[in-house]
Symmetry: C2
Subunit: 375 residues, 2 copies
């Protein structure tokens, strides 16, 4: 029986969040399972809510020590209802990771992975080990490191999912916000490879430069005085009628729809009561801004906005195409789908308030990676 | 050559709106056309923006007289861009009407309509005559009056379109706002006939009584202190994951999504980071509230909101099914799809500021009908 450290997050009914690093017994692989020694796990924006909920981590304090290390932080009474489904349950955290298969079940599919580097999406990645079905593994080609393989699911499949959504819903070009992010840069490379026109929205001059250096053709700076004009022109040039917005709150989605409508209705005459007939869609795939989303509806009646979630997209395309997407990620993990990291931290350091102050803010261009085998 | 009076609306570049009642020559029917003597045309909420744009009709003044009657009203500079596509163009107004075919082209299809009462959607219904393709006519059964037939397109096909959208998008029950309206009452009758569960949202006790009298099972009063609880319970009881909202602005769509998520997540445990996996959708098909739509996104990631337009729906279902829908309307025009009217007014009276003050406000339960043959 293998034992290993694993991070858990608990929302206690006394309005506290508790992070604990516990030593747990790892499940023995069944016939179709593999046991993975986790070597690298990224901290993605999508890991933050499972990890910290709505707790005020600036007020976090250590409790326990050694083999029983805990970090406790207060949660405001008002936000407790948001987390009612998880109260008093120690929950695993960490969406994705990479590591080496160190034991397998008896099936051929499982045995074939013995000793291989795989990426997995266990939802319990902040741990030393994970036991998962062999069929869920993304198997890497030779010569790839765990650090290179760590982010093979969330960002790569999200960018591939954007393009697949575009095709399924009859659009031909994309608008993307927070475009200087790790994901945004990946999307620039992917769209270049696939000859898909992409309108990148960033927040500063410096970010414009980052994307231009990557070869991005359309980059609009939301801090510029003529942002609306830039965006309308870029949408007009590309014909983009689909946007993916990581910001979620505020006016960004509304702004994209307004500029799409301006581009599409520029030559309209007559009543045009309901605006252009082309369907204009913005999907919110993140929530960097927690403020409400505001829509002034100044874009006729052929528009939509909604949540977008990568696993829902994979379910929509089906098993075969999802497998093709994963193979593409494996084949291009050092190029198109490469991620870069600000720093490595250990499982123990994940519970250090000083480290949390670094990795919790969702700052564009910073990304941390956890190395569970280093303590 | 037939001549007749027709109402036109012009947004002038000098920031005025001009309504004029002009005498125009009516097009002679081509082989596949019919000439309709318009006898009754409803004033629908969807006619308001084409008629008045953003003009301040409280400041409207008459100009011209007799055969050249005009009404002129100011438009604020700030709202002129909304109407840029229609500046300095006299545009026909009036979505739908009913009348008698008084001349036809030579084709069999056209000749078959000679003398028949038809409903049409000419977009120029505030007129004495219209020449339209025979194929666009909804032909009524014997014994129907023009007044009974006047509203055969906009509201009936909207309610049928709601149900068809529900089926196409895999929902099984509906939420509807402004449910005491003419359209709302029609939807109650239709859903009862089709055994579709419907959650009706109204704004007052009196409106609750109106819908209860029609046999509506689920009626929620948005002015009640426990509205959220009422709505969540009704959604839970019906399984409604699709809403149609006539209000558009403010918090109503958000509120519906919140209550859907509460109903769907009531037994959730664990992280539930992205909320329930069932897709929750609200379509905005009107804009009674012109304020921005505000979404707090407190319903996970499987949700959508968007514009909904009946003609887009008809295009989606195709010609054959659209024809079946129209036949159903003809067969049930005195029952399921019956409309009632507050008062009849003439074309001349449409230009009377005192009459406009009555028919312009989109008041639930009032509906005016124009009788072009009466002056």
């Amino acid at each position: 029986m293998t034992k290993g450290k694993q991070l858990f997050s608990t929302v206690n009914s006394d309005n506290t969040l508790e992070l604990s690093l516990d030593t747990v017994e790892v499940r023995t692989p069944g016939p179709d399972d593999v046991l993975v020694r986790i070597e690298a796990a990224p901290i993605n924006p999508s890991d933050m809510f499972p990890l910290f909920g709505t707790a005020d981590m600036r007020k976090a304090k250590h409790a326990g020590d050694g083999d029983n290390l805990k970090l406790v932080a207060p949660i405001s009474e008002a936000t407790m209802p948001v987390m009612h489904s998880r109260i008093d349950q120690p929950l695993p955290v960490g969406n994705e990771c990479a590591g080496t298969v160190i034991a397998t079940g008896d099936s051929d599919a499982a045995k074939a992975l013995e000793g291989r580097l795989v990426s997995i999406l266990p939802g319990a990645a902040y741990a030393e080990y994970a036991c998962v079905p062999a069929i869920t593994c993304l198997t890497h080609n030779d010569g790839i490191t765990a650090r290179e393989a760590a982010s093979a699911f969330v960002n790569p499949l999200t960018t591939l999912g954007f393009l697949e959504t575009m095709r399924l819903e009859n659009h031909t070009a994309l608008v993307h916000t927070a475009a200087a992010s790790n994901l945004g840069q990946m999307l620039v490379r992917l769209c270049t490879n696939e000859s898909v026109e992409l309108v990148n929205i960033v927040r500063s001059d410096a970010q414009v430069d980052i994307l231009r250096a990557l070869g991005a053709k359309h980059v609009c700076d939301s801090s510029a005085a003529d942002f609306s004009g830039q965006l309308t022109d870029a949408i007009d040039a590309t014909g983009a009628t689909l946007g993916f917005d990581a910001i979620g709150g505020g006016q960004m989605a509304n702004h994209i729809l307004i500029c799409m409508e301006r581009a599409l209705s520029k030559n309209a005459s007559g009543l045009n009561t309901y605006g252009s007939s082309e369907h204009k869609q913005v999907y919110l795939y993140g929530g960097l801004d927690l403020n409400p989303t505001t829509l002034n509806r100044g874009y006729g009646m052929s528009w939509g906005i909604g949540g977008w979630l990568m696993p829902n997209m994979l379910a929509r395309v089906g098993i075969k195409q999802a497998a093709e997407m994963r193979q593409k990620v494996a084949d291009e993990i050092k190029t198109t789908f490469a991620s870069s990291y600000t720093a490595e931290i250990s499982l123990t350091e994940m519970l250090d308030p000083a480290q949390i102050a670094e990795y919790l803010p969702k700052k564009t261009g910073t990304k941390y990676i956890v190395t569970p085998q280093k303590g």
